[in-house]
């Protein structure tokens, strides 16, 4: 079953690796039923808004970032970090009314990940506390992978609890020990998004080994859970 279906997903959600959102780019993401446009400005700051232009309903995640505003692909309406429309290219002399805006969502960047929440909660603990992330120290991001298996299956394979980060030591064939940090959440229909990082600053070879481990893990988890399908 789909864990997110019909429910508002609470708390901070890990959306993507920070390195997968370079400055001046936008990407789509989803928390439960809420579609987000997540974008990074020229100063490196990340912002998130509803993924729908109020003009014609176009997905803003298909748009682009210009002058530190999120621009719609259709007619170029630009929205600033507070979600207010600042530019309507077809009417260059007009200051858009303050009522023209898109809902925005809180964003945090920590542990090499971009986090947001769509539960309307503005205050409270950060993702570090909610997800019991390791304190201090650095991380090396490896990759995000989507597994065609439920979060329940994935967490059972990891022997861990949903909604918390997973720390585990994995020994590779060559005898190296990889300090894995995994943050997993359900996405879409019966799929799980896993963000894989390594604790500390590690070698390129360790990163490669972690990427190979991730592929093996994905294969194993998907064999345990054959219910997932793209056509639903």
């Amino acid at each position: 079953m789909q864990e997110t279906n019909g429910h508002r997903v609470g708390g901070w959600q890990p959306l993507m690796l920070a390195l997968d959102l370079p400055p001046l780019t936008v990407s789509g993401a989803q928390i439960g039923e809420q579609k987000l446009a997540v974008w990074r400005d020229s100063h490196g700051q990340v912002h998130a808004s509803d993924d729908r232009c109020p003009h014609r309903g176009m997905r803003l995640s298909l748009g682009f970032v210009r002058e530190d505003m999120l621009a719609c692909l259709y007619h170029g309406w630009r929205f600033d970090e507070s979600g207010h429309c600042r530019v309507i290219p077809a009417h260059p002399g007009v200051t858009p009314a303050s009522t023209i805006c898109v809902p925005v969502f809180p964003v945090a960047e920590c542990m090499g990940l971009i986090w947001s929440r769509a539960d309307g909660v503005a205050t409270g603990a950060g993702p570090e506390t909610e997800w019991r992330l390791p304190e201090g120290g650095s991380v090396t991001p490896v990759r995000t992978l989507t597994i065609k298996a439920s979060l329940k299956t994935v967490m059972a394979r990891l022997g861990a609890t949903a909604g918390q980060s997973v720390r585990m030591l994995v020994t590779t064939g060559s005898g190296a020990v990889l300090p894995l940090l995994i943050v997993a959440r359900p996405v879409g229909h019966d799929r799980t998004q896993c963000h894989l990082l390594l604790e500390g600053t590690v070698s390129q070879e360790d990163c490669e080994q972690a990427a190979f481990w991730a592929k093996d893990f994905r294969n194993t988890a998907e064999r345990c859970d054959t219910g997932a399908d793209y056509c639903v």
Partner: protein, 215 residues
């Protein structure tokens, strides 16, 4: 050599491969539009005389009159022809290993990405076919590409084969860039998205309907 003429269909993905390659490699070609939809011009006797299987794109002006081949047909063949014709020798693989890797990904593009091309054609122009199987095969192919580019990123590379863009990147790019025409999401492939943006910044890059040239 006579003028190169590319028999082209603006909305066809394989024709875009050829146009993109010509532009990136600086090979001058004249475009001649073939009325595929709704005209079915690819089935006319005059077109079949050039491209016997009715396949697009087709390139005239690049064959030796002595070998009785009126046109070079198919995106892969035309990409290889352009690379050989281009004054920019960087488009030719420089090592045996790079040759192998480029051939691998060009074959992957024409075989494993075929379901993505069919899915898009059906979404845009209708027709029969098993969407569900094609969608599943499309995601399988994109996953293989994403896995590869994750390892490439980790080893400090930004392209599918070699140190610089190759025919592999040109052959693979259109299917991923156009997949939203069929409603396929790109969000699950963050490494491919970054590679896609990289391709768009290449000198000589051209877009087609469905691919914004900024973003």
């Amino acid at each position: 050599m006579s003028d190169l003429i590319l028999l082209d269909d603006e909305l066809d993905e394989d024709c875009y491969r050829a146009r993109l390659a010509a532009s990136l490699m600086g090979v001058p070609v004249l475009l001649r539009a073939v009325d595929v939809i709704p005209g079915n011009e690819q089935d006319t006797l005059s077109f079949r005389a050039l491209s016997p299987s009715g396949h697009l794109p087709a390139l005239t002006g690049a064959t030796d009159p002595a070998d009785a081949l009126p046109a070079i047909c198919g995106a892969e063949a035309i990409l290889l022809t352009f690379a050989a014709l281009s004054a920019d020798k960087a488009w030719q693989p420089s090592t045996p290993m790079e040759t192998g890797a480029v051939a691998h990904w060009m074959t992957f593009a024409s075989r494993d990405l075929r379901p993505a091309m069919r899915l898009r054609r059906k979404a845009m122009f209708g027709g029969d076919g098993d969407d569900c199987a094609w969608l599943s095969a499309t995601h399988d192919a994109f996953r293989i590409m994403e896995d590869h580019m994750v390892l490439r990123r980790i080893s400090g590379h930004g392209w599918f084969a070699g140190e610089a863009p190759t025919l592999a990147d040109i052959a693979l790019f259109p299917s991923f860039a156009l997949c939203r025409d069929a409603g396929t999401e790109q969000d699950a492939y963050p490494t491919l998205r970054r590679w896609m943006r990289r391709v768009k910044t290449l000198p000589g890059f051209i877009a087609m309907p469905g691919i914004p040239d900024y973003g």
